[in-house]
Structure formats: structure tokens, C-alpha cells
């Protein structure tokens, strides 16, 4: 995928209606239907986009190209995903190159994860569940329903609102940037890879439990690594190892198997 190929049919028609956006919003509820360690939400993400992609790409070759790109690894916060869907559908409608679209997907999925955690898991859920559960604790049957209503009013308002907001943002952004696709693709890749660098340090959990004992001295290896060598060295090393193995044509399934074995054995002998 070195070259930035684009679609054979580059006619730009406005085909996405408000109804299509709503349809895709409903389908976004199934983002994690086929969740797995290889692509995470990739296949569920594609499921959500299908109605839009079918309308935009009328010839089979373009649809196949677009679908293949959207099958790649994808993982974001399941509540805020419609924002990215809106942007991406606007870009697909404008026939932006798959490379640019991929870079935007990758650059937005990480930050949304952090925002979603703060908004839903740390704010909305504790508040609504706290109120509902304290009512239920008294034997009040309204408690569970108060919880559900409070939670879902915010949930669905955001889900539908963000789809429209994302789409409008995407339309405006692509109109003003249409001039130079090569530079945009490059800039998007820079942004995407900066984020991936941050993701590697933030979301891979790997640390060692090895303690080195020498003449009454105890050295906790992980502390030594963090303070004297480099923080997050092990997550970085493991990501780079996986990258090397992928380049050597190891399949992702093989890598998942290797990871399970290393995790279980490493824990068993007290290393991890």
C-alpha cells in the first residue's frame, strides 16, 4: 500500500442524506459485534458504514477498495464513534484517497477514547447509576428505570448529534483542503503516526515482576528500567517485535497465539 491510490470513479455527487446518517448511527450500536484481538472493532466499524459506502461507491472495484481499507484495525470509544463515522463518510463522498481517510481514522480514534472515558465511565455512569442504585437500595423499583433513562438520554443525544456534527465538519474540511491531496495525505500521516507513538506508550500494559537479589540488596527490575533506562521500554519493545514479525510475514493470528503463550508462561514463572 505504498502508493496513494484513489478511486476509479472520482465523480463527486452528494448522495448522503440525513436518513442515511441516521441509519448508520443505529448500526453504530453494533461496533463491537465481531470484536477480536486482531482488528478489534474493524469489522463492526465497516458494518456501520455499509449503507453509506454502498451509495457512494457505485462500481464494485471502488466499493471493494473502500471496504478492504475499512476492514483494517480500528478501535475507539464505542459511544463517540459516530463523530469519526460522520467525518469519514463525508471524506468518502468527496472521494478522498483511502490513505488520507485511513490517517484521519487513526488520528481521531485515540483522542476520542480518552474523551469518552472521562465523559461516560467517569462522569455519566457514576452519576446516573449512583442515583438509580441508591433508590433501588431502598427497595424502590423506580431506581433502575431512573438510571436507564438518565443514561440513555445523554447517550443517544450524543450518538446522533455527533454523527451530524462529524459529517458537516468533514464536508467543510474536505472542501477547503481539496487543493493538494499529496500534502494532505502527508500531513495526515504525520498526525496519525504521532498518535500511534502515543498509543504505544499509553495502551500496551506490559511490565516485569523480576526482582534481582544480590547480597541482601533487592533491585526491582521494572523500577530500574523506568528510572534508569526508559519508561515504557517493554511496551515499545513488544510493539516493535510484533512489527518486525509482521514484516517477516507472521500472521496476526500467530502473533496473538504467541502473546497468549508469553503472557501465561511469563506470569507462571514470575516474570510478568
Amino acid at each position: 500500500m505504498e502508493s496513494s491510490y484513489s478511486y476509479t470513479d472520482t465523480n463527486i455527487d452528494k448522495v448522503i442524506s440525513k436518513r442515511d446518517l441516521n441509519k448508520m448511527t443505529w448500526r453504530s450500536l453494533f461496533l463491537q459485534a465481531s470484536f477480536n484481538y486482531e482488528r478489534m472493532q474493524g469489522c463492526g466499524w465497516l458494518y456501520g458504514l455499509i449503507p453509506g459506502l454502498k451509495k457512494i461507491h457505485k462500481n464494485k472495484e471502488d466499493l471493494s477498495n473502500s471496504m478492504s481499507m475499512h476492514m483494517e484495525f480500528f478501535n475507539t470509544h464505542p459511544f463517540l464513534v459516530t463523530f469519526i463515522m460522520g467525518i469519514v463518510i463525508a471524506m468518502e463522498e468527496r472521494k478522498e484517497s483511502p490513505d488520507t481517510i485511513r490517517a484521519i481514522k487513526v488520528a481521531t480514534m485515540g483522542p476520542l477514547g480518552g474523551i469518552g472515558d472521562a465523559l461516560f465511565w467517569m462522569t455519566l455512569l457514576p452519576i446516573s447509576a449512583g442515583i438509580g442504585a441508591s433508590m433501588a437500595m431502598q427497595g424502590n423499583i423506580a431506581g433502575p428505570f431512573v438510571f436507564l433513562i438518565m443514561f440513555n438520554v445523554v447517550h443517544f443525544a450524543l450518538r446522533f448529534g455527533l454523527m451530524n456534527y462529524g459529517y458537516n465538519t468533514g464536508v467543510k474540511a474536505t472542501e477547503s483542503l481539496k487543493t493538494n491531496t499529496q500534502s494532505i495525505s502527508r500531513a495526515a500521516s504525520i498526525l496519525g503516526l504521532t498518535v500511534v507513538g502515543g498509543l504505544i506508550a499509553s495502551f500496551i500494559n506490559l511490565s516485569t515482576k523480576i526482582v534481582i537479589r544480590t547480597e541482601g540488596n533487592e533491585v526491582i527490575l521494572q523500577e530500574l528500567l523506568d528510572s534508569q533506562v526508559m519508561p515504557k521500554l517493554l511496551p515499545l519493545a513488544y510493539a516493535l517485535l510484533m512489527y518486525r514479525l509482521l514484516k517477516k510475514d507472521f500472521s496476526p493470528v500467530m502473533l496473538i497465539f504467541i502473546t497468549v503463550v508469553i503472557g501465561v508462561l511469563g506470569h507462571l514463572i514470575g516474570m510478568l
Binding site: 471493494s64 478492504s68 423499583i141 494532505i184 502527508r186 499509553s202 510493539a239 496476526p252
Partner: protein, 255 residues
């Protein structure tokens, strides 16, 4: 008892899907406790146990994608046991948590087993077969439904004590080891992105992003904003350079 166990199992299947898909949060203990109470004929105990378990799971949410002990099975098994064994809600917590930890280990296995299915999905994508992609997603949800239904049915039908014995058979090192492996899994996804996106000229930005998170502990949003700044700078530098080339070209034409 068979019919009641079956109803709880169906509810567990639905709630299990909702934990990942739908996300209406009918799967939280405060709601499932009430439903289980309704099915087993003791609404009040169900409500109170559900609420107790809700507070236990309050902080246990999938922050940054790390999966906590399974809240669906914890809530359902916990409230069912409190009702069936007439125990205090606090005791139900003691039964529910180890169960929920074991189930989360099993979920790790489902996510692993479902990975090879993605190659079938790749083929469907290549053939632009949208129906095929849809089938795979429905299959994923069906798998979750069956899994949760079975897990909820067996201990309720066969009784609390025998179920606890089964959990004790599954050794702690295996459960903990699977958790360790689950923490390492994102490395594979990131490596796949790198394989597609990384070129020599972009390595510098990967390093910048890593440093910002590892040394400076910046949140991902801040790192993305730094990425946006670099990208904007790069974009406009390129653009003005092209502009100069064009202008110079125009001048030579003039002469």
C-alpha cells in the same frame, strides 16, 4: 427451576450483548438485579442485591480498553445466588466477583478465537460482499449470546456450591496469565497500523508521540494536538514552497 434458569439464561445472553453492542446499559447490576428478582420471584432482594453489586462495580469500567471483571455475569449470578440461597447481599458479592473474574478470562479466549474469522471478512470486503460482512457481525453477537446464556444457566440450575467448585478448579495463574496477555494484545493492532502507515520519513513523528506519552505522560488528545501542529506546519511549508516554484516559473515565462 428449569424454566426459571432458562429465563435467566436468556436475559444473561441479552445483557451480555448489551455490554458490547447496544450499550443501553440494561446490563448493569442495578437493572439486571431487578430482572433476575422478577424471574426468580423475589423482586425486593433482586433490587437490593443489584444495587449493592452496582456500587461494587462502580469503578470497574473498561478504562482505556482494559476489561474489568465481567459485570454482566457478576450482576446476574450475584443476585440469583442471593435470592436462591437467601444470603445477605454482601455474601453475594463474594460469590459474584471470583465468578466474574473467571468469565472475563474466558472472554479473552473468545476474542482470540474470533481473530481468524477476520480473514473470511477480508475476503468478503475484497469481493464487496456487504451481506457477508453483516453475517460475520451477527455471528459474533450470536456467539456472545450463547456464551453468556450457558455461563448463567449452569450455576443457577446446578446450584451455587457446585458452581463455586468449578471456578476454583480454574487455576489463578491461568486467569491472571490471560489477563497479562490481554494487556499486551494492543501491541499487535498498533504493529499492524505501523506496517501499513510507517515510512522512513515518518519515524521521527512516531518517536515524538512516544516520548510525549512515556516521559511527559500527556493524554492522547494533547499528543494529537501536537501532531496537528506538526502536520499544519508541514502542510503550509510545503504549500508555500510549491507556491514559490510556481511564481519563479511564471517569471521565467515573462522573460
Amino acid at each position: 427451576m428449569f424454566l426459571k434458569s432458562l429465563l435467566v439464561a436468556v436475559w444473561a445472553g441479552i445483557a451480555g450483548i448489551d455490554l458490547f453492542d447496544g450499550l443501553t446499559h440494561i446490563h448493569r447490576p442495578v437493572f439486571t438485579g431487578m430482572i433476575v428478582g422478577l424471574i426468580l420471584g423475589d423482586l425486593k432482594t433482586g433490587l437490593i442485591t443489584g444495587a449493592t453489586l452496582e456500587f461494587v462495580w462502580m469503578g470497574a469500567v473498561p478504562l482505556a480498553g482494559a476489561q474489568p471483571p465481567n459485570v454482566v455475569i457478576g450482576g446476574i449470578i450475584g443476585s440469583a445466588f442471593a435470592i436462591l440461597t437467601k444470603q445477605d447481599p454482601q455474601v453475594a458479592v463474594g460469590i459474584a466477583v471470583p465468578f466474574a473474574v473467571a468469565v472475563q478470562g474466558a472472554i479473552t479466549l473468545i476474542f482470540t478465537i474470533f481473530s481468524p474469522v477476520m480473514h473470511k471478512a477480508d475476503k468478503y470486503a475484497q469481493e464487496a460482499d456487504t451481506k457477508g460482512i453483516e453475517r460475520i457481525n451477527y455471528l459474533g453477537m450470536l456467539t456472545l449470546f450463547i456464551f453468556y446464556a450457558i455461563i448463567a444457566f449452569l450455576p443457577i440450575y446446578f446450584g451455587a456450591e457446585s458452581a463455586q467448585k468449578v471456578v476454583e478448579i480454574m487455576p489463578a495463574w491461568l486467569i491472571k496469565g490471560l489477563e497479562v496477555a490481554g494487556g499486551m494484545m494492543p501491541a499487535i493492532g498498533f504493529a499492524m497500523l505501523l506496517k501499513i502507515m510507517l515510512k522512513k520519513e515518518y519515524v521521527a513523528f512516531l518517536i515524538v508521540g512516544f516520548i510525549l506519552a512515556a516521559y511527559l505522560h500527556l493524554p492522547i488528545l494533547a499528543i494529537a494536538l501536537v501532531g496537528v501542529s506538526i502536520a499544519l506546519y508541514d502542510y503550509f511549508t510545503n504549500k508555500s514552497r510549491e507556491g514559490q516554484v510556481i511564481r519563479r516559473g511564471a517569471r521565467t515565462d515573462g522573460i
